[in-house]
């Protein structure tokens, strides 16, 4: 694996962001609005609700963590879409760049953009609503790790779908995390789901994060074993997503579908 080529993939994204500042909106805009909106909602709920339950901590914590996952996922797919929108795949894949280097380049881009987004969310939540995700303590580190790994897995999987089915499949990329959110226990305990959906939730790494966060905040309990399970499942999904991407790439090589991205609008 060549670091210079991975750097080239990241640098291209940096050039793009610099050239058109509207791209900052994609990284920071939505999450800023989301944190402000949920900050005021939770402040209102704290006013009218029971004093025994901190809506700000539980709900705003969930919003910050959920948005972090979405930013990681979008960090991967937007970098990929930029290449698709500019019909750059033929140039890239006919260069010495390997698929592994390309995927790592997308992941590295998502690390930078998602951590930038997390930093903004931290400051808005702290300055406007006196909430810090780090008040959870060091347990926030495995939370973020699980969400980041799962975000990469989702990102790579959705790029594989778009690679296979072409530019019209781009919408998959935007909806997949949101389609999973009802089953991941972001805003409510998994126990409140019907039994069948609770089983589904056990296969979703974010559910371990949000259950763990609620346990830490409400009872001070750290579900370490559960976090390891979540981390393990996320790592398995990441490996599977990469294998799906590789298999998809082989299919498009066999069918000659790369040229489709030079001939069809996204």
């Amino acid at each position: 694996m060549n670091l210079e080529r991975i750097y080239a993939i990241m640098l291209r994204q940096w050039f793009l962001i610099q050239r058109n500042k509207v791209r900052y909106l994609n990284i920071f805009g939505w999450i800023a609005i989301d944190i402000i909106l949920w900050g005021f909602i939770t402040r209102y709920l704290d006013l009218v609700g029971s004093s025994a339950f901190s809506f700000t901590t539980v709900l705003l914590g969930a919003v910050v963590l959920w948005n972090f996952l979405v930013r990681v996922h979008q960090g991967v797919i937007v970098a990929f879409f930029e290449d698709m929108w500019s019909r750059n795949f033929l140039n890239l894949f006919a260069s010495p760049l390997s698929i592994k280097e390309y995927v790592v380049g997308l992941i590295a881009t998502s690390i930078v953009t998602s951590l930038a987004g997390l930093t903004l969310m931290f400051f808005i939540a702290y300055l406007l609503f006196a909430f810090s995700i780090f008040q959870l303590g060091m347990i926030v580190v495995p939370f973020l790790a699980i969400l980041m790994i799962f975000g990469w897995a989702l990102g790579i999987f959705t790029t594989a779908l778009v690679l296979r089915f072409g530019p019209p499949a781009e919408w998959f990329g935007w909806i997949i995390p949101f389609a999973l959110s009802p089953f991941a226990g972001v805003f409510y305990p998994i126990a409140s789901l019907p039994h069948g959906l609770q089983v589904v939730a056990r296969f979703l790494p974010p559910s371990y994060v949000f259950e763990g966060m609620r346990a830490a905040l409400t009872s001070g309990e750290f579900l370490t074993g559960e976090l390891f399970i979540g981390l393990g499942i996320a790592a398995v999904y990441l490996s599977l997503a990469y294998l799906v991407f590789l298999a998809t790439y082989r299919v498009i090589l066999r069918k000659g579908l790369i040229t489709r991205f030079t001939a069809e609008n996204g």
């Binding site: 050239r19 894949f93 069918k255």
Partner: protein
């Protein structure tokens, strides 16, 4: 010919959903040689180029680039070759310099900034360094593509209609630049074009593809007379009109 083979293709075959893309295509491009790959639209030229570039998988046949199997030594092979094609423009949303810098990194070009500056001067692009690639004229974009194609001083260069959108005088300069590069570097070039005058002027040898098969091969200056035609264009037209049944 005894010079080193930059590209050797043996019995290359590709089908698309049962239809022939190319069948039993065999040829070689040697060091210092410019080989024209000619044929009507759909003859299989781009299929051949895409297989050589590694963006399309062949069904059968063998491919050797710089004496190596690109499936096994992909990185080593692709670092020493490059391409320019009318259908593969560089991203329109970066400046000329940014695009060339990114691809220079991908091809691991040494002394990259100097190389970009030198090539931009050669192709008359120095004044367009910070211009967004997408707003360039098609001729300028073609020259940017050619600059990218020469960034890594490739030993094998694949050019798919490299002068298609250039003014005649710029096309002339581009041909001269590429010819000079081939003489100086000993690179091999596979060149597709629909401009038969250009092919006659620059190619050492031509291959006529029709319906996915090589129909004729030879010196572009002698081939028309050998086949009883006035010129290469007349020969091209007669090859293009050959029915697929002659291959049956």
């Amino acid at each position: 010919m005894t010079s080193e083979a930059m590209l050797e293709v043996q019995n290359l075959t590709k089908h698309y959903d049962g239809e022939i893309g190319i069948a039993d295509v065999s040829f070689a491009v040697r060091s210092g040689e410019i080989v024209g790959l000619l044929g009507p639209n759909g003859a299989g030229k781009t299929t051949t180029i895409n297989i050589i570039l590694g963006v399309l998988e062949k069904d059968s046949g063998t491919l050797s680039i710089l004496g190596r199997d690109p499936r096994i030594e992909r990185e080593k092979v692709l670092t020493q070759m490059n391409f320019a094609a009318v259908y593969a423009q560089l991203p329109g949303n970066l400046t000329v310099w940014q695009n060339l810098y990114i691809f220079g990194l991908l091809y691991q070009v040494e002394k990259l900034t100097e190389r970009i500056t030198q090539l931009m001067k050669t192709f008359g692009l120095s004044g367009l360094r910070d211009t967004t690639t997408g707003v360039l004229s098609s001729g300028e974009q073609t020259r940017v593509n050619l600059t990218k194609a020469l960034l890594n001083s490739p030993k094998l260069l694949l050019l798919d209609e490299p002068t298609a959108s250039l003014d005649p005088h710029i096309a002339h300069d581009v041909r001269a630049t590429i010819k000079a590069y081939v003489v100086e570097s000993g690179a091999g070039v596979l060149w597709t074009s629909h401009n038969m005058h250009e092919v006659e002027a620059i190619c050492d040898r031509v291959l006529f593809l029709s319906h996915g098969r090589i129909l004729l091969e030879g010196d572009p200056k002698k081939l028309p007379q050998e086949r009883g035609k006035q010129n290469l264009e007349e020969l091209f037209i007669s090859v293009a009109k050959e029915p697929p049944t002659i291959f049956a």
